[in-house]
């Protein structure tokens, strides 16, 4: 089966996020005064062939932990869904 995978990466709590901080600092100039806690991450999408969803999630999580993120400074959410047939 073909699965669609979305990996959303972010910096771990406590890891400085200068991009997020800079975005947050600039918001009041546009009148947005109630926004806090801006964090910048990445989203990666790919398709994965696997026999079932459990295996797909396990493989996607493995590649995320071993390659797509650096666990010292980053964390990630991995989600898997059955790819829509074209």
């Amino acid at each position: 089966m073909l699965f669609s995978v979305v990996v959303e990466t972010r910096l771990r709590p406590g890891i400085a996020d200068p991009q997020g901080a800079t975005i947050e600092r600039s918001l009041p100039t546009l009148g947005f005064t109630g926004i806090r806690g801006v964090r910048v991450g990445k989203a990666m999408r790919f398709e994965l062939e696997a026999p079932d969803e459990t295996t797909a999630l396990a493989q996607a999580t493995d590649v995320t932990q071993r390659f797509l993120i650096n666990p010292v400074i980053e964390a990630a959410d991995v989600s898997v869904s059955v790819a829509e047939s074209v």
Binding site: I15, A16, P18, Q19, A21, F67, L68, N70, V72, I73
Partner: protein, 225 residues
């Protein structure tokens, strides 16, 4: 015979010629080793130079660890061969698991291109054997992701085992505990953000980096494998 230093060249490296020039200037012999090579045979020491290996895609150093030469670098390090990663090379060595911790973006979101002062904290490493503990060296930095970080246990271990090699006198990038460079357990693999190869001649404004590269030459040929 002069020690032969292999300088690993990745696509996107840009400090490899500085390293060659500096090592030659202090009396060593250096040659480039292409990242696609599977061997570092004939090298007595290795430098992983600065730059943007593989375009820093994904993360600095993240793709470089898959380069064919890295298995040879790992074996060379495991046999006790001296390996120094400078700037991007430091990032490559952390991503490859040869050094602990990681380099995150500088506090302040600025690319830093300036000369800073580091203090030599230990002289029992491949990069500092010819220096004196407490030496303060003026060496340039050029980086965006130079803010060293690691978990609390790793930091405690680095301190307990005297593995912080150089510290910033005036922390420019937010690095935890002012760390500018660390070494592995065997003390033969060292990574640092400052560029000693750019501080080896008075015409460059500082010769303070030469003592570090001389240390690397001195430790070359000490492999036990």
């Amino acid at each position: 015979m002069a020690a032969r230093v292999g300088v690993i060249l990745f696509p996107g490296s840009n400090c490899e010629l500085d390293a060659l020039e500096a090592i030659g200037h202090i009396g060593g012999t250096a040659e480039l080793v292409w990242h696609g090579d599977r061997s570092v045979e004939g090298c007595d020491a290795l430098v992983v130079p600065g730059g943007f290996a593989h375009g820093d895609y994904l993360r600095p150093g993240a793709i470089a660890r898959f380069s064919p030469v890295m298995d040879a670098v790992r074996n060379f390090a495991a046999e006790g061969g001296p390996v120094v990663g400078i700037c991007n090379g430091f990032q490559v060595l952390t991503e490859a698991g040869l050094l602990p911790g990681a380099l995150q973006k500088n506090a302040g979101l600025k690319f830093l291109c300036t000369t800073i002062t580091v203090r030599v904290e230990t002289t029992t490493t491949a990069l500092t054997s010819q220096a004196t503990q407490g030496d303060e060296l003026r060496i340039p930095i050029n980086h965006f992701e130079g803010n060293y970080t690691c978990d609390a246990n790793t930091l405690a271990q680095l301190r307990d085992e005297d593995r912080v090699v150089v510290r910033y006198v005036d922390n420019p990038n937010g690095s935890v505990d002012n760390i500018a460079g660390v070494c592995n357990e065997g003390r033969n693999v060292v990574g640092l953000m400052p560029h000693p190869e750019r501080a080896c001649h008075r015409l460059l404004g500082s010769e303070d980096g030469a003592v570090l590269l001389r240390s690397l030459l001195a430790s070359a040929g000490t492999r036990v494998g």
